[in-house]
């Protein structure tokens, strides 16, 4: 089973279980989804519930908010995060504020899914990783499923959430193969998870970078460096407890993210570690992020712009040696 199929299974099951759930977005129906995620769902559920829309990101998102207020459980697919800026107003000014402005009267049980990430030579307008940036906004929840289990299990939990949830699926993961339990289902969307236990350093990451980090960790293992790898899973709200506990144990932390460095989620985590476990740190928390450049098309430049296992390993090595 692939990550793509895990997402598809999650959507299908949710729609079978709850007739309030429907999917809408550009090319989710006849086309089968830009990344073939929703392929076959139109045939099963029909065009009312697998709803193709025109190119109108802002209105699709706003209509999702309205439908959620009206008692439905919409899943809005914004084809990719790159187009989410067109819907930014509805997300920040309406979805995120509605419960509050109404003094608690109206919650917005809306799920917005979007593909995110670079690495496929799609250049400056099609390679963003803005999930960490969206995590700035109070009133929404931000999920980053990195595993098949989370791809399968975060959506149903998100649909149970009374508030708006954004799910970012890294497009480079759709083809990832793996095993998934027959009974795999809803998972929690509150906690970070230790994907590899270790003693020497905590590496905090999410999404596609989880796999790059695990690759780096494996390499480091051969060199006698034992890295703990934490999958953040939820970028808003962050699971402080798990983060702080781990770093208090390993005394070193590196944050790896695919977003641009300045003002990304890595900065926030670094700041929180500073505030909360400063006296546990053997050295400064460091960051490996994307280089702050609009993504270049050329392969070698794109590779250099994105976090890579080698760079992650090098950063860890430097940190562990520094205060070895």
């Amino acid at each position: 089973m692939t990550y793509r199929e895990a997402v598809r299974a999650a959507i299908g099951e949710a729609m079978r279980k709850d007739e309030r759930v429907f999917l809408m977005g550009e090319d989710v129906g006849r086309y089968g989804g830009c990344f073939a995620v929703s392929k076959g769902l139109l045939e099963e559920f029909g065009p009312e519930r697998i709803r193709d829309t025109p190119l109108s990101e802002s209105t699709i998102t706003g209509a999702g908010i309205g439908a959620a207020l009206g008692g439905m459980r919409p899943i809005v697919e914004i084809m990719t995060v790159n187009f989410s800026m067109l819907a930014a107003d509805q997300i920040l000014n309406t979805a995120a504020t509605f419960l509050h402005m109404s003094g608690g009267q109206f919650s917005v049980p809306l799920v917005i899914r979007m593909a995110t990430g670079g690495g496929r030579q799609l250049a400056a307008q099609h390679s963003h990783s803005l999930e960490g940036w969206f995590a700035h906004i109070p009133g929404i929840r931000v999920l980053v499923p990195a595993t098949l289990e989370d791809a399968r299990g975060m959506l149903p939990t998100a649909l149970e959430d009374p508030d708006p949830v954004l799910i970012f699926e890294n497009a480079s993961l759709y083809n990832m193969e793996g095993e998934l339990d027959e009974n795999a289902g809803a998972v929690d969307i509150d906690t970070a998870k230790i994907r590899r236990a270790g003693r020497d350093i905590t590496v905090l990451t999410c999404g596609a970078c989880l796999w790059k980090t695990l690759e780096a960790a494996k390499q480091l293992e051969g060199e006698g460096i034992d890295a703990e790898v934490i999958d953040l899973r939820t970028l808003r709200p962050l699971d402080n407890a798990t983060l702080f506990e781990s770093v208090s144990r390993t005394h070193r932390a590196l944050v790896v993210e695919e977003g641009w460095r300045s003002g990304g989620i890595a900065a926030e985590i670094s700041a929180r570690l500073m505030e909360n476990v400063f006296y546990e740190l053997d050295g400064p928390v460091e960051r490996v992020c994307s280089v702050e450049v609009p993504m270049p098309y050329a392969r070698h430049l794109e590779d250099a712009a994105l976090p890579q296992p080698a760079g992650i390993a090098a950063a860890v090595r430097k940190m562990v040696k520094r205060n070895g």
């Binding site: 025109p54 802002s58 706003g62 209509a63 309205g66 402005m101 003094g103 959430d161």
Partner: protein, 314 residues
């Protein structure tokens, strides 16, 4: 709804807002205050066409909509005061009146931002096979926003039961209609999406009332959305900060001759005594509202972070 009731509603809105202006000067009400004075015939004329289960989406100039929809003057006034007895607990203020009981989905301070919401609410009604519609208020200025275009297109494509009510008061802040729009006939703009669209005299509550009834019926029949352009005028400044450099006093005076309230009173041949009685009952309501607001309480500051997320899972 009979014409006398319509008159009563318009008068309530008028006097309520006059009081608000006073209270703003007294710094009891703060933030932005956008008065609806002059436009009362629109809210008063539209609302009777809606049923209790219909959804309403409004703007930041929504005191009139809220009162005409039946939200109590008490809770609206308390909201303006920022008291927790307000219809949005004091979190929203003048621009964000909300009421679950009447399906009033708020004052929205992003121009055009409510249009997609109304589409979604209507879609929900349709998918749930309920006979309700969503009524969406917005101004002439909002028509220039991209979301207007996107929403009208989708509403027709999906045959969504939306009643679009454009309150064309000829200005978006200080921007005159012909500076906002290359073609100022807004009904024509709406008609091009393939929906019925008609202008109506927004200074004549009976005309609005009739047009709204017809429009709502058409929407409920399943034919899809309907666009009503109510041509009206705000007598007051855009907000309390506006020196009104962009229009002449003479223009305002010309429109005031068409004031919907005395206009209707004349048509109904209201006697002085009848008017006085009506004024008195309205004044009592407004006074009561002020008393209610004055007597309200402040939400404890410890509760600041409530309502960012729901307190229970759905």
């Amino acid at each position: 709804m009979n014409p006398r009731e319509l008159l009563g509603r318009m008068l309530l809105i008028r006097r309520f807002e006059e009081k608000c202006a006073e209270l703003y000067t007294a710094a009891k009400i703060r933030g932005f205050l956008h008065l609806y004075i002059g436009e009362e015939a629109v809210a008063a004329g539209i609302m009777p066409a809606l049923g209790p289960e219909d959804a309403v989406v409004s703007t930041y100039r929504e005191h009139g909509h809220a009162l005409a929809r039946g939200i109590s003057a008490n809770s609206v006034m308390a909201e303006m005061y920022g008291k927790q007895e307000g219809c949005s607990r004091g979190r929203g203020g003048s621009m964000h009146l909300f009421d679950a009981g009447t399906r009033f989905y708020g004052g929205n301070a992003i121009v055009g931002g409510g249009l997609p919401l109304a589409l979604g609410l209507a879609l929900a009604e349709k998918m749930r096979k309920r006979p309700n519609l969503a009524c969406c208020f917005f101004g002439d200025g909002a028509v220039a926003e991209g979301e207007f275009h996107e929403t009208l297109n989708l509403a027709v494509l999906w045959k969504a039961p939306v009643l679009f009510v454009c309150e064309n008061n000829y200005y978006a802040m200080g921007t005159r209609l012909d500076v906002s729009h290359s073609v100022t006939d807004l009904s024509k703009k709406a008609a091009v999406y393939g929906m019925p669209a008609a202008p109506v005299d927004g200074m004549d509550v009976l005309a609005v009332h009739e047009a709204a009834g017809k429009a709502a019926e058409a929407v409920r029949s399943g034919a899809g959305p309907y666009f009503l352009e109510c041509r009206t005028y705000r007598f007051r400044a855009h907000s309390m900060y506006d020196p009104e450099l962009y229009r002449t006093k003479a223009e305002v005076e010309e429109w005031k001759k068409r004031d919907p309230i005395p206009g209707l009173a004349r048509r109904l041949e209201m006697t002085d005594a009848e008017m006085a009685a009506l004024e008195k009952s309205v004044a009592e309501q407004v006074e009561q509202a002020v008393e209610f607001a004055e007597g309200g309480s402040w939400e404890p500051v410890e509760d600041l972070t409530r309502f960012v997320y729901s307190e229970r899972r759905a």
